[in-house]
């Protein structure tokens, strides 16, 4: 009966409660939607980082990622690659050669990272080949070896499909080597700084230019069924990789997991600020509810409702009020985010700025169940805390209030 009295008391002053519920609903809708939006942006960034750039795990010679020294190579790359690809949890693996050349074109020069890939392997591991916006992926075969460049670099150096560039680097023997490549395709990812600095050529062409030994590679990139399993799968890959270093995408790119974690923290701070603001409204509502019921509370005490029960009743009223608004807000928030899960929010207006940081300009919202549960718990806590002061006021009342006339 305490639940029923509390619930009905919430609806005693319909207008006042509805205004408060609407405020809570609005606040939580904003919170849920913003969280889903930011989560969507982060998910997209991580997805592009893993699907397009890093894959889930990589194998290198120790120190290679620190020095980028072409001498730090994986010697028996074919064998290791074969063994890794044979593992159950591995979807595909691809070997790569990596150089840091100087690029010369008719309209400018630039630096960057030149990745030599075996197209048939690489297509199974990353999706750069699907991001070609002009030309073809390393497939056209003229006399000059093909190179795929990012759109941003192409714009800067005014490259088109068929344009020739000269690529200069120091080879394995310490000699300067210059080789001409022809642009076969131009790609675009959502990360413009990646597009500006990453070029792809065929494995054998880079092998020849660098003078690399047969059967050696700088990097093996590995794709799993599920990126979250990367650290779980890592030991079995390490076994196959021997003394070479195996790293998950989070280890290679720690800013990615930092992004997820710090985004979570920011969002909870944001929600807490919303709830704090709502807190004042709830305190006010509950205080009014107590002060206009002084006589009634006195009567409840007189007929045998002890202070603990009175306290519980007031807290319960506040929680029911808050949770009503909370559920409404989260419901609207979920429905709206569901809608934008399949229809992206286009941020074309601000997209340039975002893509500089690697964020897509079209964002699909993403709302996690655990986010809703956490917000739900915070809402209940808010309801309880906001009612403590009004409830204490109720406890200070005296049962003799019941007999007061005037």
């Amino acid at each position: 009966m305490i639940w029923s009295i509390a619930w009905r008391n919430v609806w005693r002053n319909k207008l006042r409660s509805l205004v408060m519920i609407a405020a809570i609903a609005l606040g939580l809708f904003a919170g849920v939607f913003t969280m889903a939006f930011m989560q969507g942006a982060v998910d997209a960034r991580i997805e592009s980082a893993t699907k397009t750039e890093l894959a889930h795990l990589q194998v290198h010679a120790p120190e290679f990622l620190v020095n980028n020294d072409i001498a730090l190579k994986i010697d028996n790359a074919d064998e290791i690659l074969g063994n890794i690809a044979a593992l159950d949890s591995v979807v595909a693996a691809s070997q790569r050669l990596i150089a840091e050349p100087f690029i010369m074109a008719a309209h400018g020069t630039g630096g960057g990272k030149l990745i030599g890939v075996v197209p048939e392997q690489e297509k199974k591991v990353t999706d750069i080949w699907e991001k070609i916006v002009d030309g073809a992926y390393l497939e056209h075969d003229s006399r000059m070896p093909p190179v795929v460049v990012g759109e941003k670099l192409a714009k800067r150096l005014r490259l088109k499909v068929g344009t020739r560039i000269n690529v200069q680097m120091v080879d394995r023997h310490g000699n300067l080597s210059v080789k001409g490549y022809r642009v076969s395709g131009i790609y675009r990812t959502t990360n413009t700084s990646y597009d500006e600095s990453t070029l792809f050529v065929k494995f054998k062409d880079l092998q020849a230019q660098l003078g690399m030994e047969e059967n050696s590679a700088h990097e093996i990139a590995i794709l799993l069924e599920n990126g979250d399993e990367a650290s779980a799968v890592k030991p079995s890959i390490q076994k196959v990789a021997g003394n070479y270093e195996v790293q998950t995408w989070k280890e290679i790119s720690p800013e990615m997991s930092l992004l997820t974690d710090s985004m979570d923290q920011y969002m909870y701070v944001f929600i807490l600020i919303i709830l704090l603001a709502l807190c004042f409204g709830i305190i006010n509502t509950m205080l009014m509810a107590v002060l206009e019921r002084v006589k009634e509370i006195g009567m409840l005490m007189a007929v045998g409702m002890n202070r603990r029960r009175i306290f519980f009743m007031i807290i319960l009223e506040s929680v029911l009020l808050t949770v009503s608004g909370g559920i409404l807000g989260m419901l609207i928030g979920s429905v709206v985010t569901k809608f934008f899960e399949t229809r992206p929010i286009n941020l074309a207006m601000f997209a340039q700025g975002l893509e500089e940081y690697g964020f897509a300009s079209q964002i699909y919202t993403s709302l996690r169940g655990e986010t809703l549960i956490t917000i739900g718990i915070l809402v209940i806590i808010t309801g309880v805390l906001s009612a403590v002061w009004p409830a204490r006021k109720a406890l200070k009342l005296n049962p003799a209030e019941a007999t007061r006339t005037e």
Binding site: N9, M299, A302, V303, N306, P399, A402, T405
Partner: protein, 228 residues
Amino acid sequence: MKIIEIKNLKKTYEDNSVPVHAVNGVDLSIEEGEFTAIVGPSGSGKTTLLNVVGGLDDATEGTVIIDGMEINTLSSRKLTDFRMFNIGFVFQAYNLIPVFTAKENVEFVMHLQGAKKAHREARSTELLKAVGLGEMMDRRPSKLSGGQQQRVAVARALASKPKFVLADEPTANLDSKSTENLLDIMEQLNKNENITFIFSTHDQRVVNKARRVVTLEDGKVKSDEKRE
């Protein structure tokens, strides 16, 4: 059997600059089955006396012994439970729970006492029928007249099976017909079920129904007359 014994009871309100001796040395005892009216001019201390006897307010001096228990010594928590099991209250302003129906109002006290649902249902129905509200059990107080609300309050006061019922000016807000009706019900309950009633009043017609009349003046008992 003596159920209430009041000895040298004093209640002084200190919150004003001049202390008010609202109850100023009252000695009184009430036997089981009495039907007692407390009368006296406004400000004579009727409400204060009933509050202190009912454990709604504490005494400044003196003792109130109910069924052998000195209630001034109880902690606030124990006192609340004591009231719940031993004393029924009827208030001038009815003081029903507005969000509950008549039946739920009567049930609520039994719920606080921990009674089972079946028992609560049966007893609340029986009591509401006894006060003539068998047809209106599912109405909320706002849909009942003052007299009907006060009859619900009487049913509620009896729900907990108290040793006695305290009523501070139960008819002050009622018209004469409702007053008569309520008094009849109280008299019936007193005669048939031997329920002890103590009520304060200004209304001479109510006083005429009482079988004992205690008159207060300036916080003291001026006269105490029993009639059969």
